[in-house]
């Protein structure tokens, strides 16, 4: 079976809608040799590898064998630099510009592996605000919050991540994507309230401070809210896709839409603005820290 990948899939509503419809079309195929044909692809947003890797995980669940063909040289270079093509027999090309965060998948208990990934792929990159800079620290904190959220709530087999810096653009964005194929946010929130919620509304609910589906002897409900508040200050962008819900915050606006089909997992795609001159003094930092309890 040959599947032709269209050109220029973007991390926008239409792009996700297209990819997720397409996953659902092929997710029940079993014991088949599937060839992905890249001949039409002239550009690929590198961080979308986290989503493509998740699709491959879904397809491999059906004991299918995946191979790739007709990858254009400019696309191949990106996908060898970020190591996405390594399992398909390609060798690594060194990323001399330091703009790539390699594609990697983690098991949910591999927090040491993820720590190591963030240290080598992000904190040590010359493009990244230096470690003493509060912006760099806030970005790192937010990435760990997303990862921990996927680990805690997704009950997934793997967490796929990938990222890319664009230092030549005016806002010097860092795009970072985390995808898990596990329990989606709609399932978690609907089970918590025991009602069938609209998926985009469930995501919206989960983004607010204090809202959590966690029960038991540990409190929750801050992780996504902390990220959301930071993205607002940073003038970045966050997209969360879970079940058939699409949620996006950018330029001060929230957009909620319904996808044409259901994604059995969660995609978090964030654009951090590295050309951010805010100081993140967070107002009350000099406050007396005694008697905090």
């Amino acid at each position: 079976m040959v599947i032709t990948i269209p050109n220029d899939i973007k991390s926008e509503f239409e792009g996700y809608d297209y990819i997720i419809t397409w996953i659902n079309k092929y997710k029940d195929v079993k014991n088949t040799e599937i060839i992905f044909d890249f001949s039409r692809v002239t550009f690929l947003e590198a961080n979308l590898c986290a989503l493509i890797g998740t699709i491959f995980e879904i397809i491999e669940t059906g004991k299918n064998k995946i191979s790739l063909q007709n990858i254009k040289p400019q696309v191949e270079i990106i996908l060898r630099k970020n190591e996405f093509l390594i399992p398909f027999g390609f060798s690594k090309i060194l990323d001399n510009n330091g703009t790539v965060l390699i594609y990697k998948k983690f098991t949910p208990n591999d927090d040491l592996g993820f720590n190591n990934y963030i240290t080598t792929q992000l904190l040590k990159k010359p493009q990244f605000p230096s470690h003493s800079d509060k912006l760099g620290k806030e970005i790192t904190r937010n990435i760990f919050e997303i990862y921990e959220n996927a680990r805690t709530h997704g009950q997934c087999d793997f967490i796929h991540t990938c990222g890319q810096f664009y230092p030549k653009k005016p806002d010097k964005p860092l795009h970072f994507t985390i995808v898990d194929k596990g329990v989606n946010i709609k399932q978690n929130v609907s089970a918590f309230f025991n009602i069938d919620l609209n998926a985009a509304d469930a995501i919206d609910w989960a983004m607010k401070k204090g809202n959590t589906t966690k029960t038991g002897d540990t409190s929750g409900g801050l992780g996504l809210a902390v990220i959301f508040e930071f993205i607002k200050l940073n003038k970045g962008k966050i997209q969360v896709i879970s079940s058939d819900g699409f949620y996006e915050y950018k330029n001060g606006n929230v957009t909620k839409k319904r996808l044409g089909s259901i994604f059995e997992g969660t995609i978090v795609n964030i654009k951090f603005n590295l050309n951010d001159l805010n100081h993140y003094s967070l107002g009350n930092e000099d406050e007396y820290f005694e008697n905090i309890f």
Partner: protein, 117 residues
């Protein structure tokens, strides 16, 4: 007074997982149960997230004997970077709400099952 270095308890500079937060909670709880004062030292921690703090600090509010007055007297937080302090405030406020609601929720559930008189 027991001095506890977080970095040594979790064997990392990154305080980023619920599990590591629980390790810290266990150790702090051990000494507080003995009514020994604890200095919890965050020096060397470079990144900290709410999930870690929910488990390490927030979970203390799940124990009724750890009132805010008790914790203020017996638990001192040291070397917390200024920019991390607002996280503590959020986590502590959230834990207080969560465990207050949890108690109400459990009381109401019991009342629904067993009656309230």
């Amino acid at each position: 007074m027991k001095h506890l270095l977080i970095k040594d308890i979790i064997n990392s500079e990154l305080a980023v997982s619920t599990e590591n937060g629980e390790k810290v909670f266990e150790v702090v709880d051990f000494y507080l149960q003995k009514k020994e004062k604890v200095e919890l030292d965050f020096s060397g921690i470079t990144i900290m997230i709410t999930a870690f703090l929910n488990a390490a600090i927030g979970k203390l509010y799940g124990k009724k004997e750890y009132t805010p007055e008790f914790l203020n007297e017996y638990l001192k937080l040291e070397n917390v970077e200024k920019e991390d302090r607002s996280l503590f405030k959020d986590v502590i406020q959230r834990a207080k709400e969560y465990f207050a609601n949890k108690e109400d929720f459990e009381k109401n559930s019991n009342n629904a099952i067993y009656g309230d008189d």
